[in-house]
């Protein structure tokens, strides 16, 4: 899978009109400088050869060097990857409990005012473009009330607290875009379960509501819930580009966009592979968790 993706991305980016050298040197560069750079980067070689060259490196744990800066890719990516994961993690910490609370609440009180309000609010939130949410949050909470910093620049050696402080607004922005989807799916999954006979049985055993939901319903709705949470986590990681741009946060998404426009293949490749790898990893985690939560799969007969 990863191999196919890497090949696909490599040749797709390679076939894009536009020229690495021009992209790196900018529009003012002289023809001669461009030619020089092309030679230096080995762009005179056919793409297939370069791909295999690259693939061989990767197999030996070497992702190559960035065409633009000459820095090793692994080094260029690692701290940005950490940043992106941190932001996505914070987004998840905000959105997952919120989505769970809203989803459980509206499944329990189906058709109630709470249910309706939650669904309208989250739908409204989902339909707001991210950059709009981001600008609005900045205008209010950073500029008007001055509670949070308007951009997420980090000091050279940021402490945990530093990070949290600057990332609150970006994380909320991210949460906006995923809470609705998660909440709706959680609600649907729970409603399926709540209607099942064993939930009625629990009620007939005199089990109080809280315990019914938490102990009886949730574990059985876990598979679809985990699935949607994981999908959205993947989205949080991959979908942060816009948020990173607006909040000036040095993450991987930003790097990926920059590298695509610079045709910096090793960087694009590595970033795409990381994204795809994370996606696959998360999917696997979802599968594993689904098994862990389902005794039928855990203890096959």
């Amino acid at each position: 899978m990863l191999i196919v993706i890497s090949a696909l991305v490599f040749f797709a980016v390679d076939m894009l009109p536009g020229d690495v050298a021009r992209a790196i040197l900018g529009s003012n560069a002289s023809t001669e400088a461009l030619e020089a750079l092309r030679l230096k980067l080995g762009l005179d070689q056919p793409a297939v050869l370069r791909y295999f060259e690259w693939a061989r490196g990767v197999l030996h744990g070497d992702f190559g060097v960035s065409l633009g800066s000459g820095e090793p890719v692994a080094q260029a990516i690692s701290f940005r990857l950490y940043n992106t994961l941190f932001l996505a993690g914070l987004g998840a910490v905000i959105s997952v409990p919120l989505a769970l609370a809203l989803g459980i609440g509206s499944a329990l009180w189906r058709g109630s005012l709470f249910d309706r309000a939650a669904s309208i609010l989250t739908l409204g939130a989902i339909s707001m473009p991210e950059f709009f949410v981001a600008y609005t949050l900045v205008a209010w909470f950073a500029l008007h009330f001055q509670i949070f910093p308007p951009i997420a620049t980090l000091p050279p050696d940021p402490s945990f607290g530093d990070r949290i402080e600057v990332l609150i607004l970006p994380a909320i922005t991210l949460a906006f875009s995923v809470v609705a989807h998660m909440m709706r799916m959680i609600r649907a999954a729970l409603i399926d379960v709540l209607d099942s006979p064993y939930m009625a049985m629990a009620e007939m055993k005199g089990v109080p509501m809280r315990r019914r939901v938490l102990r009886h319903a949730l574990p059985n709705a876990m598979a679809p819930i985990i699935n949607v949470i994981v999908l959205n986590l993947a989205y949080l990681i991959v979908g942060v580009v816009v948020v990173e741009v607006i909040f000036v946060y040095p993450g991987l998404g930003q790097l990926l966009i920059d590298s695509v426009s610079q045709r910096d293949l090793p960087l694009v490749q590595a970033s795409c592979l990381i994204f795809a790898g994370l996606y696959l990893l998360l999917n696997t985690v979802a599968d594993v968790l689904a098994i862990a939560f389902n005794p039928r799969l855990r203890f096959p007969r």
Binding site: P17, G18, D19, S27, Y135, L143, Q146, P149, V248, P250
Partner: protein
């Protein structure tokens, strides 16, 4: 007022790249430029009035063929590392731009150099193949900063400049602290400087208003009026050489016909462009690339005005009563290009010209669109000298090098450009440049409708000298060295 000392100056910069390094032959972003001028000095500085004043070179001059140039270096200047500056450092540094396989941005301007030589411990001799009266100006650009002999490390920020590099994150930020031994008097007032790359214009604005940065460049002109009204913000605006164009390719239909070209140029309302796209932060253009920011601006040329009727009659002359053209744009050439194109479309409607605005991908704009389609949008940030601006873009040789965006090939213009380079007589030289401007305006096919100002924003805490440099933005990129906190 007497500048105060101290504070950390945080500067938001809207043009940067993950590939920025401290290598002097690295690529040419504004982030890179400012960083270089923080850590290093040039031989020559451009004063706010545009004149060239001594920096690392105390004095310079040429023989009377304008081919051999001598630069006398200042004595006692030390690098951050403690090493003392000498001629060998200069020879090494400048030589790097001519090395084989270099990707230096000023290589084309130094192409005429035959040799760099150390004529003494503090004297450098440069011999040119062809005469160039304007040669010293080249050594005043931020690309021409001087590093210590042998310094090729892209991460090494060692220099003679006002600040010492402490931290460098490509495409993200850089931080500097004050150089306690800085040789220049009355400069470098901050304790520390931080450069932060912020691509999104709105993010730059919020960062400034929110107090995360003290100044930034490239103010979003769309909102500049709103920004100006903010109580904590100062807008700094100086006229510049940067111009906005809709170039037409003379070798592609329908612009093979000069009447059509002129109709297009009478069909644009330049003042409206300046008012709406630049929000007043600029001046109208006159279809030639030289303005009052250059030494030899021909102010006598009549201004081309918006005249739909004239455009119509020109079209009729060309045998058409209706013209439909496609204008390719993206936000790459300048922010607001799409809006400008849409505005142009509205203006041209009155002249019976139907402009179809086509938004093309940002990504391959320079490769696929520019000089490849009859009509697109461009922006030039201007060049050091009239010679480089005109010679580099409007001549036959420029066309061969792929830089001539109108495919203009005019033998008289080509000849004038060559002559202008070696003419030592000031008056004659001026007249030559006046003529060149007239030729481009009347016989060329660029639609240069506006010159933009350099527009920066600072908080009210920041104080600046009365007159700001206008060679580049942010006080000719020397804000960290020249500004202070009030």
């Amino acid at each position: 007022a007497e500048p105060k000392q101290g504070g950390t100056f945080r500067l938001g910069i809207g043009d940067f790249s993950p590939t920025d390094t401290m290598d002097v032959t690295s690529n040419d972003t504004k982030f890179y430029n400012i960083a270089q001028l923080c850590a290093r000095n040039c031989l020559i500085e451009i004063a706010p009035d545009g004149s060239l004043i001594p920096e690392l070179a105390e004095s310079w001059g040429s023989d009377d063929t304008a081919k051999v140039w001598t630069f006398k270096l200042r004595s006692g200047v030390t690098f951050h590392s403690g090493k003392t500056l000498d001629a060998q450092d200069v020879v090494f540094t400048l030589g790097r731009h001519l090395e084989k396989g270099t990707t230096s941005g000023i290589k084309p301007f130094l192409e005429d150099v035959e040799t760099f030589e150390a004529a003494g411990p503090l004297e450098v001799k440069i011999t040119l193949k062809n005469a160039n009266v304007d040669f010293p100006a080249i050594l005043a650009t931020p690309n021409a900063v001087i590093v210590a002999d042998g310094n090729r490390d892209p991460k090494d920020g060692n220099g003679t400049g006002p600040y010492i590099l402490e931290n460098w994150q490509p495409g993200v930020s850089a931080s500097f602290k004050k150089n306690p031994n800085y040789w220049k008097e009355g400069r470098a007032h901050f304790d520390a400087v931080e450069l932060i790359g912020i691509a999104d214009p709105s993010a730059r604005t919020s960062a400034l208003i929110g107090g995360k940065i003290d100044a930034y460049n490239q103010v979003d002109l769309k909102t500049v009026k709103l920004l100006k009204a903010a109580p904590t913000v100062n807008i700094l605006s100086v006229s510049s050489k940067a111009h906005y164009c809709f170039p037409m390719m003379m070798d592609m239909d329908p612009f093979t016909n000069q009447a059509v070209v002129d109709a297009m140029r009478y069909g644009i309302n330049r003042q409206d462009m300046v008012d709406r796209i630049l929000n007043g932060y600029g001046t109208v253009g006159n279809d030639q690339p030289i303005n009052a920011s250059y030494r030899y601006f021909n102010a006598d040329l009549p201004q081309r005005e918006y005249d739909p009727e004239k455009a119509k009659s020109l079209l009729k002359k060309a045998g058409m009563d209706h013209l439909a053209v496609t204008l390719n744009v993206s936000e790459v050439p300048f922010s607001g290009a799409t809006d400008a194109a849409v505005l142009y479309k509205e203006h041209a409607k009155a002249a019976g010209i139907d402009i179809d605005v086509k938004r093309v991908p940002d990504d391959s704009y320079w490769d696929k669109i520019w000089t490849h389609v009859p009509l697109c949008a461009t922006r030039w940030s201007g060049r050091l000298t009239e010679d480089i601006m005109i010679g580099g873009v409007y001549t036959t040789s420029a066309a061969n090098a792929g830089w001539n965006e109108t495919a203009m090939k005019d033998p008289q213009l080509d000849e004038l450009v060559i002559k202008g380079r070696s003419e030592l007589n000031e008056d004659k030289r001026r007249q030559m440049y006046y003529d060149m401007q007239e030729i481009i305006r009347d016989r060329g096919s660029n639609n240069i409708f506006a010159f933009a100002n350099f527009t920066d924003a600072t908080t009210k805490k920041v104080a600046t000298p009365e007159k700001l440099g206008n060679d580049r933005e942010l006080d000719s990129m020397r804000a960290p060295e020249r500004w202070w906190f009030a």
